[in-house]
């Protein structure tokens, strides 16, 4: 490495060309790391195990629509009418081959269409925990495949029918996700404690390992709670748990059965996996675009390093000849150009780390990107070193083939 001073002096002579490469590498690092940071959350959300076996879940929504000549009764009779309708719906769905469990609920995990409530330890606490609010019946945990860590499940007697969208008069108990339990009671003694959801005081009777909430990209996605009940309302929702049978068969069977039962209602049946994909589709499109741009960027930068080294080699053909004539080996010539390139890449990386943080400030505001950490920068640095060296290799090899006789050419 006694060539360092020589290389530095050579670089000084070609300041402009060297600066170009340095800036190029710097910008590339900044963009790459930030793109990675912005899409990191999305990717994590997609691949994150949600604690529910998504693969066998089907989400069914059925909305009763009053049509002239076929109207739901008003007032108190409405409750009984919808209760009867929902019970018959569930009976139909239960009989589809392959369906193991069925539960009535108020919304589907990760659908971006579930209510969120503020939970408080004391009624007028300043701090509150925004959590996803589910309503489920006695089959809810089994249908979703929730793992009960401690406590118990709802019993059938605790599940009450109500026309109130929040089951305000229902049994004041709740099952919470472990993440929520830990937030509410960090000492780990959440079971049998009480918590306020608005004005309602709920007793925690069970804790499940995971229950995903409103949206995969929401910071509180892991904080959810379930209260027992079924809503006797025009809009009804059910979750189906199926075994190995083909989900698409179950989806179409559920659709035609419910439409057959009441043709004027609005029925939507999809798999839980589809719901998650749909909620994330916009984010995924952005990730695709950013990924494409990053790939292009890397190609352009690699071409740049290649071009820069080619330029230097072409310019110094005679000098290379002289060095070869006075005894430098081919290996030394290659090492020289690779070191030179490495020095420039490294300088670029140093500037780039700084730029990365600057760009991150812009992106955190605009895209809601994650804050860049050193752990994200490190792979980017290694990667760029690799790309730089690889793209300089070919011209460096070409330089090593410059014949020593080149030294005799006058310039």
């Amino acid at each position: 490495m006694n060539e360092f001073p020589v290389i530095l002096r050579a670089l000084q002579r070609n300041r402009a060309a060297a600066l170009l490469t340095i800036f190029q590498v710097a910008l590339t690092l900044a963009v790459l790391v930030n793109v990675f940071a912005s899409s990191d959350g999305y990717r994590a959300a997609v691949s994150q195990p949600m604690g529910i076996a998504e693969s066998g879940l089907v989400a069914v929504s059925s909305e009763w629509i009053d049509v002239d000549g076929n109207r739901a009764p008003e007032g108190d009779a409405a409750n009984a009418f919808h209760k009867d309708r929902i019970q018959r719906d569930m009976e139909l769905l239960r009989r589809i081959p392959g369906v193991q469990h069925i539960s009535a609920t108020n919304g589907f995990p990760l659908s971006d269409d579930v209510p969120v409530r503020q939970l408080r330890i004391k009624r007028d606490d300043e701090t509150s925990f925004a959590s996803t609010f589910y309503i489920g019946d006695a089959e809810y945990a089994r249908t979703l495949g929730l793992e009960l860590m401690s406590g118990r499940d709802f019993s059938a007697e605790e599940v009450q029918w109500s026309s109130d969208p929040n089951i305000a008069e229902g049994t004041p108990i709740t099952i919470v996700s472990e993440a929520l339990a830990d937030k509410l009671f960090p000492k780990g003694d959440a079971l049998n404690r009480q918590v306020y959801a608005g004005d309602r005081l709920l007793t925690i009777v069970g804790i499940v390992n995971r229950l995903p909430g409103l949206h995969p990209l929401w910071s509180n996605v892991e904080m959810s709670f379930v209260v027992p009940g079924v809503r006797a309302q025009p809009v009804s929702r059910y979750l189906l748990r199926a075994d190995g049978a083909s989900l698409s068969d179950i989806v179409s069977a559920a659709e035609s059965l419910l439409y057959g039962a009441h043709p004027q209602s609005l029925v939507t049946v999809e798999t839980q996996a589809d719901i998650k994909t749909r909620t994330l589709s916009m984010a995924m499109s952005t990730v695709t675009v950013l990924g494409f741009v990053s790939t292009l960027l890397l190609i352009v930068t690699a071409l740049g390093c290649y071009g820069q080294t080619t330029f230097t080699v072409t310019k110094r053909t005679r000098e290379i000849g002289i060095r070869r004539a006075i005894g430098a080996t081919k290996g030394q010539v290659i090492a020289y150009f690779l070191t030179e390139n490495w020095l420039m890449t490294t300088a670029g990386i140093v500037v780039g780390v700084f730029l990365t943080y600057v760009l991150n400030v812009v992106l955190v505001q605009g895209l809601g990107a994650a804050k860049v950490t050193l752990a994200m920068i490190a792979p980017g640095v290694l990667f760029l070193w690799g790309v730089g060296l690889l793209s300089a290799l070919l011209p460096a090899l070409r330089a090593s083939f410059v014949p020593p006789a080149m030294a005799t050419r006058t310039a």
């Binding site: 490469t21 002239d68 939507t268 695709t288 960027l297």
Partner: protein, 455 residues
């Protein structure tokens, strides 16, 4: 002289064709990546009604609670209470006015075998059609009388008409919206608005396919997509208490537009609004300081875009794309340095024969400009391709997101117009020339003698 320099430049490009091609390609890729996002941003900020928009005003009053503003720093809510919208409508007579909001309605096709579906719906008043002047294929908007008489009428889009009745001339037909029969009085031409300025909750949203009178909102049970309350509600919203909550509390949800023919009328209307809020304060409403807004279409778009997360995201993406373009330009500088180094010998000969250094510089700059121009044009081609790809990608996503909801397209966002094409070429020329100055200066500053020796 210029002709000679031009032909020399062209010959020089031809000689180093591979490097020239690479330079053009690099610029083109940079432009092709940067332009699609800029196109989207451009359309987001476009004013779809540049002329008449100066006479159309969005009205906002600040009835939020005393503790905190609706949104920092001190923005009033972008919507009014139904009570205020009614008071405004009853008390003054602007040239035209309309309260409106967006909702989801269910349509039951009256045909055996076809299933109900949801459509995005605009719940509005007759003034909507006279103010925003959508074009009709058949029929027209309903009139003021229909507003006050709560007539069961509707205006639908061409796509919905086609879907329900198999024709775009469905005036007089009936359709079942949320269980009630409405008579079609007008069918709109496909209408693309970018951005969707009269709403702006989602500037990317497509124009609704169904328009129903505001007077029918409770009869049709049309719960607004967007509503907020400055105070805690006495009870959670349900089907049973929808009407009582939305008429008696301070829930805001009505987007209110007025047409004011000139500046003096606008000024007096502004004064009247201030007096109105003063009167309401005397009644114990409007706890906050006077904070009314009266924005014409252009101002309204600017104001809403300022805080739009969509706009923020697009701006962030543009920054990334422009940095990408910068990297491409650095690369172009590299390529040009190599290219001009290759022709050093030739330059020296020409210089030795008496060409001035300045002439050589101009020749190189011409060369760079030609390359940049070609890069810009090729970039437009790539950008068209990229816009198409992005449109497929994002519309597939939003189509998924709206599954079950019939929507129009947002094609307008992905269309390149002349100003964008011009920007692309300008960006290519500016960037290309900036990238070319140093290599050109470097190439013509070689002394002829040393250059000649190296041949």
């Amino acid at each position: 002289m210029f002709g000679f320099l031009l032909s020399s430049a062209l010959r020089s490009i031809w000689r180093t064709s591979i490097l020239s091609l690479l330079a053009v390609a690099t610029i083109a890729v940079g432009i092709g990546v940067a332009i699609p996002m800029m196109t989207v941003y451009h359309h987001m900020n476009e004013n779809p009604m540049p002329e008449k928009g100066q006479r159309l005003f969005r009205v906002n009053l600040d009835n939020w609670n005393a503790e905190r503003p609706f949104r920092e720093p001190n923005d009033p809510p972008p919507v009014l209470t139904l009570q205020d919208a009614r008071n405004l409508a009853n008390a003054t007579e602007p040239a035209a006015r309309a309260g409106m909001y967006a909702a989801q309605a269910t349509i039951n096709p009256d045909k055996p075998g076809s299933r109900p579906f949801k459509v995005s719906t605009r719940v509005t008043e007759s003034g909507f059609f006279s103010m925003f002047e959508p074009r009709f294929i058949a029929g027209g908007g309903w009139d003021v009388r229909a507003d006050s008489a709560k007539e069961a009428v509707t205006v639908i889009g061409a796509a919905l008409s086609q879907r329900l009745f198999g024709t775009t001339d469905s005036v007089g037909s009936q359709l079942i919206v949320n269980g009630r029969r409405l008579t079609v009085v007008g069918v709109l031409e496909p209408w693309q608005l970018t951005p969707m300025f009269y709403d702006m909750q989602d500037p990317f949203a497509a124009v609704e396919d169904l328009f129903v009178p505001l007077g029918l909102m409770f009869e049709l049970d049309l719960v607004p997509d967007f509503w907020r309350s400055p105070f805690e509600l006495p009870a959670p919203l349900s089907h049973a208490n929808f009407e009582s909550l939305f008429t008696t509390t301070d829930i805001v949800f009505v987007q209110y537009w007025v047409e004011l023919p000139d500046a003096s009328v606008a000024a007096s209307y502004r004064g009247w609004l201030d007096r109105y809020v003063g009167e309401q304060k005397a009644l114990g409403r409007f706890p906050r300081e006077l904070n009314n807004r009266l924005d014409d279409v252009g101002e309204w778009i600017e104001y809403t875009m300022k805080d739009s997360s969509d706009a923020g995201g697009v701006v962030a993406l543009i920054v990334v794309m422009l940095l990408f373009y910068a990297v491409c330009l650095f690369n172009t500088v590299n390529l040009l340095l190599t290219k001009f180094l290759r022709s050093q010998g030739r330059t020296s000969v020409v210089r030795a024969l008496g060409a001035a250094q300045g002439d050589m510089f101009v020749q190189y700059l011409i060369e760079v400009c030609i390359l940049a121009l070609l890069g810009g044009l090729a970039g437009i081609g790539l950008a068209l391709f990229g816009l198409d790809a992005a449109r497929n990608l994002f519309e597939h996503g939003s189509a998924l997101a709206a599954s079950g909801v019939a929507t129009g397209g947002t094609a307008g966002f992905w269309e390149m117009d002349m100003s964008i094409a011009f920007t692309s070429v300008a960006l290519a020329l500016i960037g290309g020339c900036a990238a070319g100055i140093y290599p050109a200066w470097k190439a013509c500053s070689v002394s002829p003698a040393s250059g000649l020796k190296s041949i």
